[in-house]
Structure formats: structure tokens, C-alpha cells
Symmetry: C2
């Protein structure tokens, strides 16, 4: 298989985590790295089938791959109430979410003051932060 530069990067990235390089892992990782959005396992499978119709990936492989990629910190996940677990590109800057209950759109925002305040709160309680997640639910400007 001839590798273009993105594929070579994916291969290195995957192997650098001590994982075997497979087409399925590369495809799933590529989709997440290229995507700006938040995708769940089902949506990822739909993109795979759309973008690589000749490839047949099972849903179990999607779940297994997502778990490995997350453990290796190549992607990250958040749980949105009813929407289930969604994954995104880990290289994006940390951000929080405004979630519209009507149209389902997720708007991202970054606020340095809130981040700083969280760190302060954790420090005061001798709590070691690994990650955090914040969601504001309501109606976006198009839906009210």
C-alpha cells in the first residue's frame, strides 16, 4: 500500500502508542482528526461507510478503536446527557459547550477566567484535576 503523507503520519502516531497499524484504526483516527465536530460511534461508522464505501468496519471495531485512541490520548470524549458519548480531536484547545436543546447544535467557547477559577477550586481542596467538562443547556439564538 502506498502511503501518502497523512497516512504516514497516522501510521507513526498509532505505532508510537505501541498499537498495530491497521486500516480501520487509520480511517477512524483520520476522521476524528479531520473533523471539527463531536461524533458518536454511530456517526463515525456512517462517515466511514460514506467516505470509504469499499471498507467494511464493524461497530465493535469502532468502539474498541475509540477506547484505545482515547486511552492513548489521541482523541477525547465527552458525555452529553441524551446524546451519549461523543468523541473529538484532542489537539483542539480545551473548550466548553453551549448545547441547544431545540436544534442540538453544540457551540464551543473558551474562557480563561473559568479555567483559572476551576484550577483554584481544585487546588484549595487538594484535588488533582485530570479533565473537566462543562455544558450549558438552553436555546440558541436561532431557536427562540
Amino acid at each position: 500500500m502506498k502511503l501518502d503523507s497523512l497516512e504516514r503520519d497516522l501510521k507513526e502516531l498509532i505505532q508510537s502508542k505501541g498499537m498495530r497499524y491497521t486500516e480501520q484504526r487509520a480511517i477512524i483516527l483520520e476522521i476524528l482528526l479531520m473533523s471539527d465536530g463531536h461524533l458518536n460511534a454511530d456517526e463515525i461508522l456512517r462517515v466511514v461507510r460514506d467516505k470509504y464505501p469499499e471498507t467494511n468496519i464493524g461497530i465493535a471495531t469502532v468502539y474498541r478503536t475509540l477506547s484505545f485512541l482515547e486511552e492513548s490520548n489521541l482523541i477525547s470524549s465527552i458525555s452529553f446527557g441524551l446524546e451519549g458519548k461523543k468523541y473529538e480531536n484532542v489537539s483542539k484547545e480545551h473548550h466548553d459547550h453551549l448545547i441547544c436543546k431545540a436544534c442540538g447544535t453544540i457551540y464551543e467557547f473558551i474562557d480563561a477566567d473559568i479555567e483559572a477559577k476551576q484550577e483554584q477550586i481544585a487546588k484549595d481542596r487538594n484535588f488533582e484535576i485530570h479533565s473537566h467538562s462543562m455544558q450549558i443547556y438552553g436555546l440558541c439564538e436561532n431557536c427562540h
Copy 2:
């Protein structure tokens, strides 16, 4: 059935929402009003069986009751990643959560600055807030 004062309150509370007063609803509401913690449906059922061994409540009733109580704003819920949906006493002041990944303890905190900042962010984007939830994951002082 002779009603003590708590039971009378529960009865009024439930009927004030236009719901029929049943033993099951009273028990579930009482557990949540008395509890400081965050309980999921399964944990509630376990408390019921422990506290009222003579009563047989089905899991379906627990889910149905929780939904009604939440719609009526008598209790509120949050979704914690793996832990699923958890319910708590709605009368408590709004608060956010520090969640220890090792021992599972949930520590609450309240921060007016963060709340204010969230409102500001929503206002800037013409987003109407209905609710929000924030979780910080990591290790608490007993677990590191």
C-alpha cells in the same frame, strides 16, 4: 393509613403537582429529599429495599417516578459520564462537582464568579440558559 408530618408534606407536594399520591412516589421522593447525595435509579431501588423491605417497587416505577418528579421540579438530575443519570434534591443550592475517579466520591462546590461568567457568555451569544452542569474529574486528596 396514619400520616406523620413528613408523609403529609410529601402528600401535599405530590398532589400540588396534579399527581396522584401513591406510597411508591412518597417513598422515592422521601429518599431523595432526605439524601444529600446523588443517586441513580438502581441505587434508589436498593435504598427502598433496604429501608422498606416490605414494599415491592419495580424498577420501571422508579424510572417513571423519577421522570415525573423531575418534570415537576421536585428533584433534578445530572449525567455523569460512566455513572449514568443521577438524581438529587432540587432544593439544594445550585452547585458544580468534583468527581474522584478513584473512589467515586462527588464533592460539591459553588462559585459565584463562574456562574456569572457563564451567564455573560450566554448573553454575548444570545443563548437562553435553561440549566448547566460542570464536572471536574481527577483524584481527591484521599486518593493520591
